[in-house]
Point group: C2
Chain length 111, copies 2
């Protein structure tokens, strides 16, 4: 679980918003998810991610990338492609991906 936010991002950068509906703890999901986090963290241009999931509701993960090339490298990664295939076959009822170029961002941290 991520309990703090990705900070210090300077536009422009890219967000990959992944929203999904799936059962709470499907077989095989946790190990694959952990492996995906390892792989993406090693990619040049990866800036971090945040993930939240309402029990019984939807999940949202946001991954941050410096440029579209690093995001495409993640999309095309072989292990990632295989994981997405397993996800469609076994885990997800539905998901959406929204790739956006961020031109504006701001934040707040309590003193």
């Amino acid at each position: 679980m991520t309990a703090s936010l990705v900070a210090g991002l300077e536009p422009p950068y890219y967000t990959a918003v992944f929203t999904s509906v799936r059962p709470d703890d499907p077989e095989g999901y946790a190990a694959t998810n952990a492996r995906m986090r390892e792989i993406v963290a090693e990619l040049p241009g990866f800036l971090g991610y945040e993930s939240a999931r309402t029990p019984g509701g939807i999940g949202i993960t946001v991954a941050y990338f410096r440029d579209i090339e690093s995001l495409d490298a993640w999309r095309d990664n072989d292990e990632h492609r295989a994981a997405k295939r397993r996800g469609r076959e076994h885990w997800y009822e539905s998901y959406s991906v929204h790739i956006g170029k961020v031109e504006r961002s701001y934040g707040f941290v309590r003193n």
Copy 2:
């Protein structure tokens, strides 16, 4: 709680990603949040939102807008500005906002 995903979005559109850390159920939050959902739903150009929150972890809300003008109208709404001020004073430990223009999106729905 949103249990299904916003569907049928055709690029280009905008995502406002709001990520936050706050206590689980702070006083006054739920009513303000419900009111904000009413207001934003009436704005021209608002396309929908999704929200997820890991208990004890972070929350992520993604709001979808047709164009930057509708997103700016939401940012500048008086009630919304007052709610953000209360959020900084009382509710949030930290938050970030990332405004992105979506050029690519895709999804999956199980048959």
